[in-house]
């Protein structure tokens, strides 16, 4: 009766070893690399577009309007007869605002749903988690997150949100115009605020503007006295608060509270109404570069984006009862770019990718896109206008 559990280990080890060696074979789970290059076999039947969005979790306020937008556009497209007569099937996956969720959703879309193209994710982290998967599986991916690192050097990933550097360019240009020489920055400690100081230093150098102080704040922070006190002491000609609501709004309130009277610029992260809830009266006079969506009613009549934006705002508002956010706009642009490329190239992955790279002159919500093999972002600073906060809304700055 000496036999006992202790003997199990070696046996299990052997079993496990055998298991690893004999792997492969049936099931849909070993599709992997040999099944790449899109599916040349399926030039008919429905076109499948996948989307990976931050529908729940910290990115929910981004992901939900994006989800709405994609669903609405897909319905519209199918009502009009699809792409080249082929129906479009949209499969939206929630990544729960996590990297592993994004990786999971992406794998599933590719292996289970055999998608032709993937839109998403909403934020930088999850987008970066998707990148190695879409690259090794060779599936075109249009991200709707901001960070330039998402597309840098990638053959398969594109994005529709403005690059941060474009936003900074826009701010610095505006500052140079007004003759400011020094600037101080308070940025949030998330991926959104990552690398901003370096970009300001770099872009500012071209215009003779120097970054003299950098402060950071946590996205969950509620009190900004410390950061704003330091900003006050820096005595820069102008200051930049770089963050998303509500923290950027609370920081703005603290800025005004501490009696700093230098002009303040914020980022496109505050291009929403929640900013006014958080900042209150302190919002007045804040300058922020952003897409044209929020100030569409003030655009000159000859603005090429005006009809596109008007149509989208009208459709979205009718469907969901609220006006779309700029994140919805990013999703809109991603969808439209995908459709243009699919119409042109069909569902062959390589052709599709090339077609996206060749999208040119597309007038979207965030700007006019000029994609190229070198530039997978396609927007320059002309996509942005400078808005000024006043009376609880964003207005076109003079």
């Amino acid at each position: 009766m000496a036999r006992s559990h202790r003997r199990i280990m070696p046996v299990a080890l052997a079993a496990a070893a055998a298991l690893t060696l004999t792997a492969c074979g049936g099931g849909g789970n070993f599709g992997g690399d040999d099944d790449t290059g899109g599916d040349g076999e399926a030039e008919e039947g429905p076109i499948v577009i996948g989307a990976v969005l931050d529908i729940t979790g910290v990115g929910a306020n981004l992901g939900v309007p994006e989800q709405n937008t994609l669903q609405m556009l897909a319905d519209q497209l199918n009502a009009e007869g699809g792409i080249n007569g082929r129906e479009v099937e949209l499969i939206i996956k929630d990544n729960q605002s996590t990297e592993d969720g994004a990786a999971r959703a992406t794998t599933e879309l590719i292996q289970n749903d055999d998608v032709d193209l993937i839109i998403g994710a909403s934020r930088t982290g999850p987008s970066l988690a998707m990148r190695p998967i879409v690259e090794s599986e060779q599936i075109p991916n249009i991200s709707i997150a901001a960070n330039a690192a998402i597309v840098e050097g990638s053959d398969w990933v594109f994005k529709t949100a403005q690059n941060d550097v474009v936003v900074i360019q826009s701010i610095i240009d505006n500052m140079a115009e007004k003759g400011y020489k020094t600037v101080a920055l308070a940025r949030d400690a998330t991926g959104f605020g990552e690398g901003i100081a370096e970009m300001i230093t770099e872009v500012g150098a071209e215009q003779g503007i120097e970054l003299i102080a950098t402060e950071s704040f946590e996205p969950s922070a509620t009190d900004f006295t410390a950061q704003m006190t330091n900003i006050r002491n820096a005595e820069a000609d102008a200051n930049i608060i770089w963050g998303i609501t509500p923290s950027a709004g609370l920081a703005q309130a603290a800025y005004v509270q501490l009696g700093i009277d230098a002009p303040v610029y914020q980022s496109h992260g505050v291009a929403n109404d929640a900013f006014f809830e958080a900042a209150g009266d302190a919002a007045d006079g804040v300058l922020a570069p952003m897409g044209r969506l929020l100030v569409a009613d003030q655009l000159p009549d000859d603005d090429p984006q005006l009809p596109v934006i008007d149509q989208f705002v009208a459709d979205y508002t009718e469907e969901f009862g609220t006006p779309p956010s700029s994140f919805a706009g990013h999703a809109y642009d991603a969808w439209k770019i995908a459709v243009i490329a699919l119409e042109e190239a069909g569902t062959d992955a390589d052709a599709l990718r090339d077609a996206i790279e060749n999208v040119s002159g597309f007038v979207g919500i965030s700007g006019v896109f000029e994609m190229s093999p070198e530039n997978h972002s396609g927007l320059d600073s002309s996509a942005l206008i400078m808005a000024e906060a006043g009376d609880g809304r964003w207005n076109l700055a003079e």
Partner: protein
């Protein structure tokens, strides 16, 4: 208890039970292996996704379940070790030329090191402190990862290549599943081994009664620390796989919510059960997907983090309604099915056995005369005790000092509980320590056993000062004790309790325990434990849960447990309390024979007559002072003692001494009766 049964050799009785245990585990592991092999072949990609992450998360969950089950501690920062290792691995393989296997080992090592640094000061503390500190650790790891350039701030570490095994890239979910599965299976086996090993049993004993475990030589602190570090290692291994699979490591993976998810896995699966942790990780991953699909259909228009509702509800309901978790439910079902089929150890048979056991030990047979049968039973019990007594080694010659108390003093605030007590306990003798309530006996006793530290004075055991050290220090040197308020290890059976007494005689540590390389040692100790139980007439209940025994037999079991340690000095804390007359006699006779076999006994007892009849030397405490020491006769004649006991002045006591000759007569009869018995 029948004579036939006790006559059987121990090994034959043990066989079926051990076989059954091993068999169940064999079957379980085999079933798991088969399930893991088949799963990728049949699962849909959605299920596959769930499966891969469930496997990755099963590792930290196993670690956490060990921590909760064995060390009785909760970590609210398990994700931080997961993250530390994931980061370390990611950085090592993307930034250095270190081979990947070495990187993985180093990464796990970093997790363990951090756990060691955190656990080292904190595990000395009791209860919830570790939970709180690990909660803090989780936030700190998250913030440091987010804020430092070294970890590339919020962008995290990306560019991790897929692993290769024998030149084959683990390039898809199916292969990755097979890549992780062996580690989970091995981890599970190691963890299961550990729970049954010397260290594992010691830790569950600590959870049942820390006091008792330490009195048997278990170094609670160092074992707990080892398990904590081990649990971090499991978390770390999970982190390595996470880094491989998701190929980006960002600060979010150290966040609190992931720690909560690990906790949820353990709680849902079944607290403290290693199998439960694996089951829990699959359940939680399924819930995670399932809830997102289900809840919006229940609450229309619900977006946002609605699965939180499910998590919250499930967590609360499980704790309130199903504290045993998934494993608990499975156990209930199996028991139910067995009863339906009329198979397995029927509860009626068991309760009959118990009933029988308690019939034989009337705990309250005070006024009733002991039945004829009962008398015979005691007779045979004592006989048996004499026959099979274990060897009692005496490191010093009979009569020489084994234990020396010098100037032992304990103050609580202004109150002096024990005041400058000095006496010796000679080898091979029974020394009684008596005194009225509140005299300081228990305090004195606790200072000797190490349960409390003296304010001043020394306790020397075999020439070595042990005062103020944890009880396990003295226990490892051969000093152990029993408890007035029983300290039974309720989570194991009677044999398991006595087996714990062998702890000091064992060698195998956590590592050997996990590797299952202590079989022979365990078996040998088990045999000894079995023999001792047989010798003390508890062989028939060896396989019953210890908590099910009647009080008297639990006390005997404690004595067995203490004897299993092969002590040089046995401290008995009111061993007679709660015993029936018959049981007292058996115990007294046993102690006498143990003394004759060379054992030294120090006994605190209220039953003064019993002490007088039993002890070779009696020390009397009153109000913290040692008022008398000597042979029973000397002490009985001491007016101070009488005064102390009857609460009178000494002069009155003199009268009492003269007046109550009748009582003396009764008392002097006692030993005779005992001898007759």
């Amino acid at each position: 208890m029948t004579a036939q049964k006790t006559a059987l050799p121990a090994a034959q009785k043990r066989a079926p039970r051990i076989l059954q245990n091993a068999l169940v585990q064999w079957i379980g592991v085999a079933a798991l292996v088969v399930a893991l092999i088949v799963f990728p072949l049949v699962a849909s990609p959605t299920l596959m996704n769930i499966g891969v992450f469930a496997l990755i998360y099963a590792l930290p969950a196993i670690g956490l379940s060990l921590l909760m089950g064995l060390a009785g501690q909760v970590s609210l920062g398990q994700a931080s070790f997961f993250a530390i290792s994931a980061y370390a691995h990611a950085m090592l393989i993307t930034r250095t030329p270190i081979p990947e296997v070495l990187a993985a080992v180093l990464a796990v090592g970093v997790s363990m090191l951090i756990a060691l640094l955190v656990g080292w000061p904190l595990l000395r503390l009791r209860g919830h402190f570790l939970a709180l500190a690990t909660l803090g650790l989780g936030f700190i790891v998250y913030i440091v990862a987010r804020e430092s350039d070294f970890t590339n701030r919020t962008l995290g570490i990306s560019g991790i290549q897929r692993p290769e095994v024998f030149g084959m890239e683990i390039g898809n979910n199916g292969l990755f599943f097979y890549f992780v599965a062996p580690f989970v299976v091995i981890g599970l086996i190691l963890a299961l081994n550990l729970t049954r090993s010397r260290a594992g049993r010691a830790l569950s004993a600590v959870n049942d009664s820390e006091l008792a475990a330490e009195s048997l030589g278990v170094g609670t602190y160092s074992l707990r620390l080892k398990v904590f570090v081990l649990s971090a290692a499991f978390a770390g291994l999970g982190g390595v796989f996470y880094a491989y699979h998701v190929r980006i490591v960002t600060p979010e993976i150290g966040e609190f919510h992931l720690s909560v998810e690990f906790l949820l896995m353990v709680v849902l699966g079944g607290l403290g059960s290693v199998w439960g942790a694996v089951a829990g990780s699959f359940i939680v991953e399924l819930l995670r997907d399932g809830l997102r699909a289900i809840i919006p259909t229940i609450i229309p228009g619900a977006t946002g983090e609605v699965q939180l509702i499910g998590y919250g509800l499930v967590l609360v309901l499980v704790i309130i309604l199903l504290p045993g978790g998934f494993v608990g439910v499975v156990q209930i079902i199996t028991r139910w099915v067995r009863r339906m089929l009329g198979k397995g150890p029927s509860t009626t048979a068991r309760s009959a056995k118990l009933q029988g056991a308690s019939d034989q030990t009337p705990t309250g047979a005070f006024s009733a005369a002991i039945a004829e049968e009962e008398a015979q039973r005691i007779d045979s019990a004592v006989e048996q005790a004499a026959a099979n007594l274990p060897e009692m080694p005496t490191p010093v010659a009979t009569g020489e000092t084994v234990l020396r108390l010098e100037g032992l003093t304990k103050r609580y605030g202004g109150v002096v509980a024990v005041d400058n007590v000095t006496f010796d306990v000679p080898a091979g003798r029974i020394t009684g320590l008596i005194g009225p309530n509140g005299a300081g006996k228990t305090t004195c006793f606790n200072m000797i056993s190490g349960a409390i530290a003296p304010t001043s004075g020394t306790v020397s055991f075999l020439g070595r000062e042990v005062q103020g050290r944890k009880p396990n220090v003295a226990a490892s040197a051969g000093l152990t004790r029993t408890f007035q308020n029983l300290q039974v290890f309720g989570s194991t059976d009677v044999l398991g309790n006595v087996y714990m007494g062998r702890y000091r005689n064992g060698r195998a540590g956590v590592l050997r325990g996990m590797l299952g390389m202590q079989g022979a040692e365990q078996r040998r100790h088990r045999d000894v434990a079995r023999d001792i139980l047989d010798a003390l007439n508890l062989g028939d209940v060896a396989d019953l849960p210890a908590g099910d025994l009647p009080f008297g037999r639990q006390r005997m079991m404690e004595v067995c447990r203490a004897l299993a340690l092969e002590p040089t000095l046995l401290l008995l804390d009111e061993p007679m309390a709660g015993l029936s007359g018959a049981e007292r006699e058996v115990l007294a006779e046993l102690l006498r024979r143990l003394r004759d076999a060379g054992l030294t006994v120090l006994l605190v007892e209220h039953d003064v007559a019993q002490v007088m009849a039993l002890a070779d030397q009696v020390a009397v405490l009153d109000d913290g002072d040692l008022i008398a020491i000597g042979t029973p006769e000397e002490v009985q004649a001491n007016p101070k003692v009488i005064a102390a006991y009857l609460g009178t002045e000494e002069d009155e006591a003199e009268q009492v001494l003269e007046g109550v000759a009748a009582v003396d007569a009764v008392r002097s009869d006692d030993p005779k009766e005992d001898d007759d018995a």
